[in-house]
């Protein structure tokens, strides 16, 4: 059912299928598969996060403003996670999503049928800090 072998009780029961627009930070103007990898695959040898459900999800935000706020947070902590921002379509058939109302953050756990390189990106633009 799931694209990845997920930890037990993952995704949480609160996660739902959604049909929505979201915003995602990209590393360049040309989106590719590596822009949509879950955290756990960025450092595959790191065992610390292997049992953490959220590490298997893809992050996106409900608004451009919230996405840039998160990008700034990461930058302040020491990492520039990307240079561009894009609008992505999350479909009901993509997987299940958990939504944090405070930060506007989506965690998306993908179904087996969804590929990382099949997210449609539009309105790609360079991130402006202002």
């Amino acid at each position: 059912m799931w694209k990845e072998k997920l930890p037990i009780d993952c995704p949480p029961s609160s996660a739902k299928e959604l049909d929505t627009e979201a915003y995602r930070i990209l590393k360049s103007e040309e989106p590719n598969e590596s822009d949509f990898l879950p955290y756990v695959y960025l450092h595959p040898e790191n065992e610390r996060y292997k049992t953490l459900c959220e590490a298997y999800a893809i992050s996106s935000f409900d608004s451009e403003k919230n996405a840039i706020k998160a990008w700034k947070g990461a930058l302040k902590r020491g990492k520039n996670i990307g240079t561009h921002i894009a609008k992505v379509e999350i479909a009901l058939s993509d997987g299940r999503n958990d939504f944090n109302q405070n930060s506007g953050h989506y965690s998306t756990w993908l179904y087996e049928s969804k590929n990382y390189d099949t997210f449609e990106c539009s309105n790609i633009k360079i991130i402006s800090e202002n």
Binding site: P7, Y39, H43, N46, Y49, T51, L52, S59, G73, G78
Partner: protein, 394 residues
Amino acid sequence: MKINSKYRLSNFPLKLRVIHAFDFEIEPILLLEKDIIGNDFLSYLTFSDYEKEQRVYIQVSQERLNEVLANEISLNSAFENPENDFIYIAEFSHNTGKILDSFLVPVSVVSDAQVIPKNYIINYEKPNNVVVLRENELLDFSERKQKIVFDFYLQSQNLINNIKPYALYKVFTPIVEIIKNMLEFDSRNADRYLAFSNLRQASFGITIELNYSHDLFFQKETEVIENLLLLLNAQNKEDFETVLFKTKNDKYLKHYITMIKAIIDNDADLHTAYANPVTKDIKTNTLNKERAEIAKKIIDETFDVIEDVEEIKGTFLEIDIDRKEPSFKIYSFEDEFTVKGKFELSILEKVKNDFVNIGKETYVFQVKTLYFPETTLKSEEIKRFLIDYKKESE
């Protein structure tokens, strides 16, 4: 955050396991981690580049953790007022997850650096009933206890308000009986090998701690618990045959059948999990009504009984008419073997009145044989009944 090297630790004293993320946006920002003896730590991400991450740690009691999660006290003030005055800072390699550097710092280091925003709000909804233990918690528990642990959790609509007797007597007790049977000990020794903990209500959960071998390897109990999981997971003939092949006797099956019937009758889900402190294995299983019904079909499997009546010429060797089911033993002259069985009730009076001379007189016996063919769970069975006999004339 730059830290004065005078606070550096030669070794990070905590062996931590990440349990839960309260904030994971792009990166793991706020985490709950546990050390090997079960203490809770909140860790907050203070720095992360492409090489390493730096996290600040405070130990929290369950009460403090609940206060923080309910935003009754801010995360910032929890870190500025740690319950035990210790603040650790640890740096981990992103690639390996290994510790690169660690520090023990005074509270002022964290408050002066203002690493946690004062208006930071945690978005966390506590689950209503945390009754199924998380895998990692179970393994931690197993390691602390240095025992094999088998967690039992029975969920059903009729167990929400209280625990019904069937949950105890028809599901939990049969599981314990299966373990006792497979490990070959009886109730007199149960206290030496078994203990129960983590009792949870709504629905009904309990952890069975098992230490039979009293050594470092737990070989015997590991085999038994793995066989028990195979049995609980069995869904076809081959699965049952595997369990039967691996176990010395099949007496535990009656307890298994009791349990299966109770799960079906009460539309219950039995969640079980096993953790082994030596192999670090964690295995889980869920037996619900559907799966229990599939198993029951195999259990109920029967074949036609084969009936045969034969004449045997021989002599009585034994007659016991005082038993609840009066029995006989005869010797066949022709085949030179003994045949044992029960008297059919209709000839009992005849036997009593005949004053049979055991071992001396020759009779022609009519013996009815019922042959019950082997099924998946039962071995073949032969029952013999003496339906008539005549003294052979000399």
